[in-house]
């Protein structure tokens, strides 16, 4: 009897493992992104749009820009967080269904950049929502942004998902 129960457990574990593997595979192959500007100078936003042009063709990696936060898996954040944008950024993040990931694009998103210390700026993205990947640059090239997404996918496919906080 004990052996039988153990085998059933084993089978269940294996089934769970296989299911997790399938889920991870699907997540890593279909990252739908949404783009939010919380106070950027628009430089990084133009680079993100350039990333989505046919020249870089991110659809071959399964990346798709979505309009609705409800459809998205990856939040591409640009710029420092201003006082006005903080609540909106948090709301967009909270509207996204789990599992969700955040990529901070550009120097300002990482540290506040040129806007650091401004009276209307709270600071970098990490002070408002947890960030998974940082893409430095002012602005970062489209290749760098794609590399950031690819790094996120590598972390996803790895055994442990680390959320730096």
């Amino acid at each position: 009897m004990i052996g039988g129960a153990g085998m059933a457990n084993n089978l269940e574990d294996r089934w769970q493992q296989a299911l997790e593997q399938v889920k991870t595979w699907a997540r890593a192959n279909s990252p739908w992104a949404i783009h939010f500007n919380s106070g950027s100078c628009n430089g990084c936003d133009i680079e993100i749009l350039a990333t989505l042009t046919p020249l870089y063709d991110v659809e071959r990696l399964g990346i798709k820009l979505q309009g609705s936060p409800r459809h998205a898996d990856v939040l591409l954040c640009t710029g420092p967080v201003t006082r006005q944008a903080r609540d909106r950024l948090r709301r967009v993040y909270e509207q996204m269904p789990e599992p969700k990931f955040v990529i901070a694009v550009g120097s300002c998103a990482i540290s506040g950049g040129a806007f650091q210390g401004c009276y209307n700026v709270i600071g970098h993205i990490d002070e408002v929502i947890p960030v998974d990947v940082y893409v430095p640059g002012c602005p970062p090239r489209p290749e760098a942004i794609i590399d950031g997404v690819a790094k996120l996918l590598q972390v996803l496919q790895g055994t442990e998902v680390t959320k730096p906080l």
Partner: protein, 304 residues
Amino acid sequence: MSELLALLFFPAGLSLLAGGLVYEWVDRKLVARLQNRMGPRWYQPLADIVKLLAKEEVIPTGVNKLLFVGLPIAALAGALTSALYVPMFGLAPSFSFPGDLIVALYLLSLLTLCTGLAGSNTTNTFSLVGATRTLTQMFSYEAPFLLTLLGPALAAGTWQIGGIDAYAQNHLLLLTQPIGLLVALIGLMGKLELSPFDSPEAETEIVAGALTEYSGRGLALFRLGKNVELVIGLTLVASFYLGGLANPLEFLLKTGGLLLGLSLIQAVMTRLRIDQTVGMWWRYGALLVLAQWLLLIVTQGTVS
């Protein structure tokens, strides 16, 4: 037993879902190649669907929960059920009775209707605008689309899909009713909200239209329903206008050819406004098909 098998696996169950995913990939790949891109990998639609199914489903406040959860299921069920009356994969329809053409067409419209209801169920403004546009578009394409599919029915003298298919195998209706084929193909694009007619889900204006609030499972089911409908619609048009579907090879070639035409129109045309869409169908689509109908009735009367 064999009916259960037909429901679950072939021709209306899993194989139809798989076929829908394959056709979505072919469509996306063709559009990508026409835009000089590499395009998605072959398993992309599958990865999208599995990911969406494994995602959290957020039920927003202010919605009727039963409708919110039930509408995607009804949409997919309607699309799958209509496949039972259509010669899928070039095989004879699983079920058939006189007049099943009308039933199949109404079941196909269930998806659009469910999308509209799903959009108006939420309190989101974008969803509401999307739902209004979806239903407006449905009222504009549905009549011409129905008329184009009734043209072959009129010629064949039966409203049974199997009968029309048998008639079409001996008569190439593409030659006698060319306007019908054109309007049917464009009506199908309107039904599926493909590129020139995608104002109901225009992502540059109204986020994602009626499905803005859907995440995870609901979105996956709506997408699956749309994929299934793409296959069924292509099958119907190919069966009626391109000389019937006698075997699976003919099915592949004919629906593939139609899909190529669909992708071409998608790639070269930009989005029409909703009033342009409605005007085009009522002013040109419906009138052209009616003129063809008149011609058909007159010639049939004089010949026989």
